[in-house]
């Protein structure tokens, strides 16, 4: 199903023309209205008129999260505050928060891309959508809210948390669409089953849109199996617009970027150079239509690759693979780069193991060690030490085969690892503490 078929199936050439026209406009707009950009352009000896083709975008300096923090709070705003109708902010755990302001037009764009995203996975005005992403400064809750509002679906704005009530409402209201983080979705399924005796498959849920954190294909299958639904991947970030930058279609083979609003590049995170199509690197995004805070070449730190195949769904917009990691989640252990998702993938390949794990990095004798704690499940528990040890070694071996490093696997009691209602904390790095 399409929300805006004409645009979503625009021939590639037409799309590129539209992008170039918008890129030129936004570059000029940013240069003229945001002193930060003007300064950067001057330093680079660049004028807005120098951008003549889409490829010329590579001459524009990158914008990083650190840049945005420096101009806290409103330094990136291209319009006076009177034109700003809403403000969002990403958490400031590592310094000052990033503040993004939306004009009325920006909110319309947000509605549009979220409406396209939800319509793409079959959400209509007849659906009841429970938005269990946090509402507030975090963009998750309101982004979904606006999209569902545009479609006319019935919104149940539960926000995150209060798990028991989430499930009661799903059951009593007959919720058909769930939107939340994937780890919270799994927690909801577990809670319904174990604490409330409700089989999640008996709920009326049909589809779910999950994101705001890294997850794997195996986790998708697990969510789909537990709820008996189709689970889709949503992508977005506050700096660009929030959820709705890209969304998966029913083919479940990558996320379509709404390219008429967001221009995407994939670069080598070390050199900053564009990578050939299909190669994995850091996603860099430019907003083509934003008025409040135009963003030029924002370094997302998310690792992905373009999917170049034509999509069976009929959309011409390019797809990206599910996010494979964050450039700053990359764990460097004994000089080897690895991502938590690789370990998760290996764990889930072992039958009967559930995706509840934590990675602990230590450096006991000047040498990095990785311990992976995994919760024991009923399915694999045995009364024989030998069998449990075999299982432990099997998981260790799978992980070593996947990431190329020897790890120590420890089996811990069920539900002993922290569950989070937002983003799951997978890695605990104790190397700096000793």
């Amino acid at each position: 199903m399409f929300w805006n078929k004409e645009i979503e199936t625009l021939p590639k050439e037409k799309l590129k023309e539209l992008q170039l026209e918008r890129l030129k406009k936004v570059v000029k707009y940013a240069y003229e209205h945001v002193s930060y950009y003007r300064k950067k352009f001057e330093e680079a000896g660049l004028k807005p008129e120098d951008i003549k083709t889409l490829e010329d975008i590579r001459f524009i300096p990158f914008t990083s999260k650190a840049d945005l923090r420096e101009v806290y709070p409103f330094g990136m705003f291209a319009v006076p505050l009177s034109e700003i109708v809403e403000i969002h902010s990403s958490s400031g755990t590592t310094g000052k928060p990033v503040v993004i302001g939306y004009t009325k037009e920006d909110i319309e764009v947000w509605k549009e891309v979220m409406a396209r995203s939800l319509t793409m996975i079959g959400v209509t005005k007849d659906d009841i959508i429970q938005v269990a992403y946090g509402y507030g400064l975090f963009t998750g809750g309101l982004g979904f809210h606006y999209g569902a509002l545009a479609i006319g679906a019935t919104i149940v704005p539960t926000s995150a948390g209060n798990t028991r009530r989430q499930i009661e409402l799903m059951r009593d209201f007959g919720t058909t669409v769930l939107a939340c983080t994937p780890s919270y979705a799994l927690y909801l399924a577990e809670y319904a089953q174990d604490e409330m005796g409700i089989d999640p498959r008996t709920l009326k849920l049909r589809v779910g849109s999950f994101g705001a954190e890294m997850w794997t294909e195996e986790m998708r299958k697990e969510i789909e199996r537990r709820f008996g639904i189709k689970a889709y991947n949503v992508y977005g970030l506050t700096e660009i617009i929030g959820p709705g930058v890209a969304h998966e279609c029913p083919a479940q083979e990558g996320l379509h970027i709404w390219e008429d609003h967001f221009y995407a590049e994939i670069i080598d995170p070390e050199t900053g150079e564009p990578l050939p199509e299909g190669e994995r690197g850091e996603l860099v995004l430019t907003t083509l239509t934003k008025k409040g805070v135009p963003m030029l070449r924002f370094r997302t730190r998310d690792i992905t690759a373009f999917v170049s195949r034509t999509c069976p769904c009929g959309r011409t917009f390019i797809r990206i693979e599910r996010i494979r990691g964050r450039t700053d989640d990359m764990i460097k252990v004994r000089g080897v780069m690895l991502f938590p998702y690789q370990i998760e993938k290996a764990i889930l390949e072992v039958q009967g193991i559930e995706p509840h794990y934590q990675i602990i990095l230590t450096r006991p004798h000047y040498l990095d060690e990785i311990e992976v704690q995994i919760e024991m499940s009923k399915e694999v528990f045995s009364d024989e030490v030998r069998k449990i040890e075999e299982l432990r070694r099997k998981i260790e071996k799978r992980i070593e085969e996947t990431v190329g490093i020897r790890v120590k696997v420890t089996l811990v009691e069920p539900k002993s690892l922290p569950r989070s209602e937002g983003k799951a904390k997978r890695v605990i790095d104790k190397r700096g503490l000793s």
């Binding site: 024991m376 499940s377 528990f381 045995s382 024989e384 030490v385 030998r386 449990i388 089996l411 009691e413």
Partner: protein, 143 residues
């Protein structure tokens, strides 16, 4: 002649054994035999109790991972070489012992042990042929 044993997964953390046993005490479960197999990271608590199903329910309710397995309760002569005699039968019958541990109680003049092998049916046949006493679950639960 098989009896039910309940096993519990225990992380090597302070107080976990106490917590498991306390759950059983609250549920008024009597423990007839008990052993712990431990490694540096975890342990497996194995028990014969008067009501395995109730014990399982209580433990799982408290968040423990449990499993019920079939084992044998064997009466051996309470004198030097009593257990060795039984093990010899198994050895000659080419049966591997997974684990063995003792009951608290005796049954008459005999000491009781819990036995788990790689082939319980064959073990039962062999031991019965040799006249070794096996206790059924009813007897064990009423000890």
């Amino acid at each position: 002649m098989k009896i039910k044993q309940i096993s519990v997964f225990l992380e090597n953390k302070k107080g976990r054994l106490y917590e498991a046993l306390n759950v059983l005490a609250q549920a008024e479960i009597n423990i007839r035999a008990l052993s712990i197999a431990d490694t540096s990271d975890f342990g497996i608590l194995r028990m014969i109790v008067n009501n395995p199903e109730k014990a399982k329910e209580a433990l799982e309710g408290a968040g423990f991972t449990t499993k019920i397995t079939n084992v044998l309760a064997v009466g051996v002569k309470d004198k030097p070489g009593g257990l060795a005699e039984v093990l010899k039968i198994l050895y000659e019958g080419d049966i591997n012992v997974e684990y063995v541990y003792a009951f608290v109680e005796k049954s008459g003049e005999e000491a009781l042990v819990v036995l788990r092998t790689n082939n319980l049916d064959k073990t039962i046949d062999l031991l019965q042929q040799k006249g070794v006493k096996l206790l059924d679950s009813k007897t064990v639960e009423s000890l």
